[in-house]
């Protein structure tokens, strides 16, 4: 069944998009991430312009993180104080990100920057995660306990605050900075940033695993809602029809993914996720290096936007 996407200006097969939403939802439910880093590239791959893909995926991630956040809230697995401090940075970062997005689009370099950010971020995070997962797997084989580091330089920073539910005593400076960074790259790349945020919170900020995913989901939810709003107001690029199909597929797929994820061991899960992230990054890198089919592109500025 063909459906015309009003903002993407493109007819698509509803079932294809629905299936893509479900597949990404499955993966995101399995790993407990938003899945934006998979969704945005897939949309670009089926011919939707990177700008529309990034803007529309934001609302899709908002939907899936909201349903996640509700269940974490019920289990009291969200730290409200930590979420609030993160959000102070996150909202600022998102606003900066959307502003940068608009500037790059006017310069004609947006598609390039999206691709470059994907290459840099995903290959770095992917290979780190992959090697870390590999090491963890080796350790469990050998049966040794990982060395437990207690404090790092981050815990020496001033402006300390007590986060009761997470049971940590931490400076707000790194928390706000993390929020800004995640908000910024999320708005430009169309990702929730959960797959970077969770490791940062665990390894750098030492947030306990009981509250880390729920709290990171709150940041994802709010930054993506803000990103949706700002993209809609400034660039008029949010395709609500596309977003709705993705959401419906995504939230359904996520439920099955979550069940599948419980059967796989943590280290293997991280190894798989690392591999997945790495391959998306490499795919973008290849795209940049090979000669494009057509060197010329046209963008309409006038009546029909």
């Amino acid at each position: 069944m063909q459906l015309y996407l009003p903002i993407a200006d493109l007819p698509v097969n509803v079932f294809l998009v629905l299936a893509m939403g479900a597949a990404v939802g499955f993966v995101s439910g399995m790993f407990g991430i938003g899945g934006g880093f998979l969704m945005t590239p897939l949309l670009i791959f089926i011919g939707i312009t990177p700008a529309v893909a990034v803007a529309s995926v934001a609302s899709h991630i908002a939907a899936s993180s909201f349903s996640g956040a509700i269940s974490y809230w019920r289990r009291r697995a969200i730290d409200p104080a930590l979420a609030t401090v993160l959000l102070c940075g996150g909202v600022t970062g998102t606003a900066l990100g959307v502003w940068t997005f608009t500037q790059l689009r006017a310069l004609g370099q947006l598609d390039l920057m999206i691709a470059l950010s994907y290459v840099v971020l995903l290959t770095t995070v992917g290979s780190l995660m992959f090697s870390e997962g590999l090491r963890a797997l080796m350790r469990t084989r050998r049966g040794t306990v990982p060395p437990r580091r207690t404090h790092n330089w981050i815990h020496g920073l001033p402006l300390k605050m007590r986060f009761k539910r997470s049971k940590i005593y931490l400076s707000v400076i790194p928390v706000v900075i993390v929020g800004v960074v995640i908000g910024f790259i999320g708005a430009i790349m169309g990702i929730g940033g959960g797959f970077i945020l969770v490791p940062i919170m665990i390894y750098l900020l030492r947030v306990p695993t009981s509250t880390v995913i729920g709290t990171s989901m709150i940041l994802t939810l709010v930054t993506m809602l803000v990103a949706t709003m700002l993209h809609a107001v400034t660039n008029h690029l949010v395709d609500a029809v596309l977003a709705l199909i993705l959401m419906v597929g995504g939230v359904t797929g996520a439920q099955f993914g979550a069940r599948a994820g419980q059967r796989i061991r943590g280290e293997q899960l991280r190894l798989l996720l690392g591999l997945l992230i790495l391959s998306v990054g490499i795919r973008f890198a290849v795209e940049l290096v090979i000669r494009p089919e057509d060197l010329f592109t046209i963008r309409e500025l006038g009546v029909n936007g």
Binding site: Q2, Y4, L5, P6, I7, D9, S59, H60, A62, A63, S64, S65, F66, S67, G68, I70, S71, R74, G108, Q109, D111, L112, L116, M224, L225, T228, M229, L230, H231, A232, V233, T234, H236, V238, A240, V241, A243, L244, M247, V248, V251, T252, A254, Q255, L288, V289, R291, P292, D294, L295, F296, T297, I298, R299, E300, L301, G302, V303, N304, G305
Partner: protein, 256 residues
């Protein structure tokens, strides 16, 4: 439809007053509505060349060029170049108020209809249509083989939005003619001007104009219009939709 048109034309022909050669034209539909499942359509343009007493007797054969010009818009054409091993948009040209849809039809090849000089003046053929560019502060149309200009025409042609066809106009009788105007699925909405230029023995002897309108209707168009005109409300609605979907999912799939 076609029969009715011919009948209408005949009435026009019989009732009109004489004044050299006159062109009488009509399109099959003056208002095309594009619905969500619209997959392209063809309009038909009908017309007649009307002679009178002052028409030179040796004028037997006429040539016609039909130009269809869609709503005008500014466009940017960018060129990628290899820089540091990756392909980057480096150079660009801005095309000012160029047609978003452009079709040129004739009854025989453009270069046989008239001289290159007249073809250029009358903008006959895609190579002769004026496409204004802004090149670092200067306003000019450039030579037809300019890289940006030809890439622009090539890309628009690939999407079916620019076209030229030197055999699309057919003469049913020596004076009665018709041509189809194909409108692909992604036609821009707005007012389309149609110019019909008449030539005889290589000389330009007159023209007439008509127009039609393309409007989009349906839910998709409503979404597109509100996204552009009420960005804030549209954004709020999308955000609310996201929250609703997420909330519904958490109810439907609630485990406990």
């Amino acid at each position: 439809m076609i029969r009715a048109l011919i009948a209408a034309l005949l009435v026009l022909l019989l009732g009109s007053a004489a004044r050299a050669e006159r062109l009488i034209v009509s399109v099959s539909n003056h208002r095309v509505t594009v619905t969500p499942n619209y997959s392209g359509e063809e309009l038909v343009l009908f017309g007649s060349v009307e002679k009178d007493a002052s028409t030179p007797a040796d004028r037997a054969a006429y040539d016609l060029v039909v130009t269809v010009i869609g709503p005008r818009a500014d466009m940017v054409t960018r060129r990628k170049e290899r820089t540091f091993g990756i392909w980057i948009n480096t150079d660009y040209r801005q095309f000012l108020q160029v047609p978003s849809y452009l079709a040129l039809f004739a009854n025989r090849p453009f270069d046989q209809i008239t001289s290159p000089e007249i073809a250029r003046r009358q903008q006959i053929g895609l190579n002769n249509v004026r496409l204004m560019q802004r090149v670092s502060g200067d306003y000019a149309d450039v030579v037809p083989n300019d890289a940006f200009r030809s890439a622009f025409i090539r890309l628009r042609t690939q999407r079916g939005l620019y076209r030229e066809d030197a055999s699309a106009v057919t003469f049913l009788t020596p004076t009665l003619f018709r041509t189809g105007i194909p409108l692909p699925a992604e036609v821009p909405i707005g007012t389309y001007e149609v110019e019909i230029k008449l030539f005889a023995n290589g000389a330009f002897i007159g023209k007439t104009e008509t127009a039609f309108e393309i409007v989009k209707v349906g839910f998709e168009q409503f979404v597109a219009t509100s996204a552009r005109q009420n960005g804030l409300i549209y954004g709020l609605a999308t955000a609310a939709m996201a929250l609703m979907t997420g909330w519904m999912a958490s109810i439907v799939f609630r485990k406990d």
